[in-house]
Amino acid sequence: MPKVTIDGVEIEVPKGTTILQAARMIGKHVAPPAMCYYSKLDVSGGYCRTCIVRVTKGSAANPNPMPKPVASCRTEVMDGMVVENFTSEQVLADRKGVVEFLLLNHPLDCPVCDQAGECSLQDLGYENGAEKTRYDFERRTFEKIDIGPKIQLHMTRCILCYRCVHTADQLTEKRVHGVLNRGEVSEISTYIAANIDNELSGNVIDVCPVGALTDKTFRFKSRVWFTKPVDAHRDCKKCAGKVRLWFKGEEVLRVTGRKDQWGEVIDWICNECRFDRKNLSDWIVEGPSRIDPHSVISQNQYELAKLKLDTGEQLKKIKEKK
């Protein structure tokens, strides 16, 4: 099995593992942020470029460094490979550039966005962004559209990560959801302005890293940090029935898939569980959800994030560990 060293930590991984996956196996302190890769999808990644790292040694057989930064989610490890992520000033600078591009046309309407508090772009911006934008032109906007009766698409916030497209490809039979147009004016849309009538379509809401795809049954009901997540299950014929209920007082405001420590769903859930089962009596409650320090809803997240930016400190720690 190939061995790879990421930010000074060596790990042995199965052949075919990507740098990002290997980094996640080591742990949060070396794992690059990923806005488009999604572990539950057969195809994903490569688009956003936030996960870029430097390969300073290609492999034991070919020790040359790779000339350009590589997308860690799409690059397989080789035996003897050495990768720099948080320990490279250059990587951090490059990533900062990518984050600036991702935020360039983003409306930053967090105060009125349902995703605020559990938005990957918010986290990314906090950890890698600049304080002020250098972009002083008008930002692009789109009209909101409905994708079926329960899902709303607000393209203005989309970062074109393609996750929802690949999710629709993977989970639905007929592909009616995809990308229209080109370049800066590309947009996610339904090819046929018809309802997406599919039992699993609601999962696109969970995979969307930003507030572009939102749950119409939850819109504007509450800020997520005022709701309490609880893991629950029910006997469902269409999906595994393992969900997360979001309570405000006694009321279930929304149902989502359970997410892992990387903010990615563990099991897909069906639309019935998501949209139509909002009574406590529908569910067997397992207990409060453990939310990993992934998002704003978890306290002190930003204190931790600051540490990450301090590369000198990071390096020192790694050396001490050795």
Binding site: F101, L160, E184
Partner: protein, 448 residues
């Protein structure tokens, strides 16, 4: 003039017909190749030192050698005829006037690769050339050069011509493959490379029109003879499409290694700068390559005369050199505005970005907006550094080289002509071009 291997018969009346093409020695290379082993044909191409003429200059024989050969899986050869790079119009010229040269090259190259179905992916706007090719392909079928058991050799080949739909990005080989498969023309994320998994997941070679056409003289004269033309690793001849402020715009076939000065000023080629004006700058290999000021084009930073070859043009790296690229040669005289020229290129890349990856999707638009502002006379001093910084954040961080193609012109224009940008920013009222800008921009607005 040096040796004319590709353009030799271009002006022969009726050369687009099979009979005239044959009367001028056409399909001899195919006959010869079909009597050789497939690997021998590959070896001849390897010996010739031929490098891809589509822009990157990758050794063709080596590329052919990489093609995977799993048992029972068909392989494909795809000809990249999507030529859309601003300044490049050599492939069109060749196909339009001498279609059988490409078709002969396609057949013998397919034979070498063991491909039984091959494609020519042609730019959508070249509809009339498509019709010329279709006609020539039909004639080749009728004469037994295509179809089953070609010339009794037992080799079968079907050749299809496929029209693009007007996207520059479909010239990038993996976007081309997607488009050929009937999908949205987004470049694929590599690896896997087409040699392993290309069209429909099968091993595929994508080559430029000129690359494939060049295999015909290579087989006719032998790889070693071909390699004697040129200098060093730049062997053979290259088509250059010359345009801009020169006396003789057009397509020229040069022997690689010709001096840049001779190419630009000799009457056999560009014939010098038009209207007795002074030579200011050149974009030597299509809009993507770094622009060079006159002095650095004629002589390298070391003071050696620069040659039209892969190595010499890139001497000095991007600090003082450029690239041979696809051979689109754009000359600017003293009246040309570097800033306006750059704006035009940047506008193009912004328009053509497929939008998959964030640096290119967002960065190209941002750069265009800043250049717009500078041309409008509303630029700020900080805009120049900002532009340079944006391009550096695109360069090397994208899925396909279109990002770099958008970044390099910006970097080089600022590197070599910073003064002009400063003039625009500091004294906009003195720049005549600002008025021109409004004219162009109003035109654009009314077109919306």
């Amino acid at each position: 003039m040096g040796k004319q291997l590709l353009l030799e018969n271009i002006n022969v009346p009726g050369i687009e017909t099979l009979s005239v093409y044959r009367a001028n020695g056409g399909y001899k290379a195919l006959e010869k190749a079909l009597k050789m082993q497939q690997s021998e044909v590959v070896d001849e191409v390897k010996k010739s030192g031929l490098r891809g003429r589509g822009g990157a200059g990758f050794p063709t024989g080596m590329k052919w050698g990489f093609i995977a050969k799993p048992e029972g899986v068909p392989r494909h050869l795809v000809c990249n005829a999507d030529e859309s790079e601003p300044g490049t119009f050599k492939d069109r010229y060749l196909m339009q006037h001498n279609p059988h040269l490409l078709i002969e090259g396609m057949i013998l190259s397919s034979y070498a690769l063991g491909a039984n179905t091959s494609y020519i992916y042609i730019r959508g706007e070249l509809l009339y050339v498509y019709h010329i090719l279709e006609k020539a392909i039909q004639a080749a079928y009728d004469a037994g050069f295509l179809g089953d058991n070609i010339l009794g050799s037992g080799f079968n080949l079907n050749l299809y011509c496929h029209l693009g739909a007007g996207a520059y990005i479909c010239g990038e080989e993996t976007a081309l493959i997607e488009s050929l498969e009937g999908k949205r023309g987004n470049p694929r994320i590599k690896p896997p490379f087409p040699a392993v998994s290309g069209v429909w997941g099968r091993p595929t070679v994508v080559n430029n029109v000129e690359t494939i056409a060049a295999t015909v003289p290579i087989i006719n004269m032998g790889g070693e003879e071909y390699a004697k033309i040129g200098v060093g690793k730049s062997t053979g001849t290259k088509l250059i499409s010359a345009c801009g402020h020169i006396n003789n715009p057009g397509v020229y076939e040069i022997e690689l290694g010709l001096s840049c000065e001779e190419f630009l000023f000799d009457d056999k080629y560009c014939g010098g700068i038009k209207n007795g004006k002074k030579f200011k700058a050149v974009v030597a290999g299509g809009s993507s390559v770094p622009i060079l000021p006159a002095d650095l084009f004629l002589k390298t930073a070391k003071g050696e005369p620069r040659l039209m070859s892969y190595e010499s043009l890139s001497d000095g790296g991007f600090i003082s050199g450029t690239m041979l690229g696809s051979g689109g040669f754009i000359v600017l005289d003293e009246t040309a505005s570097i800033v306006k020229n750059l704006w035009n290129f940047t506008r193009f890349y912004h328009h053509e970005s497929c939008g998959q990856c964030s640096p290119c999707r967002e960065g190209t638009g941002w750069m265009e907006k800043i250049l717009n502002r500078i041309l409008e006379g509303k630029g700020k001093q900080t805009d120049i550094d900002l532009l340079f910084d944006i391009q550096s954040k695109i360069d090397g961080k994208t899925i396909c080289p279109l990002g770099e193609a958008a970044a390099w012109p910006v970097a080089s224009a600022i590197r070599h002509f910073r003064k002009e940008f400063e003039e625009y920013v500091n004294k906009p009222e003195e720049i005549v071009d600002v008025k021109h800008y409004y004219a162009v921009n109003n035109l654009q607005q009314s077109a919306k």
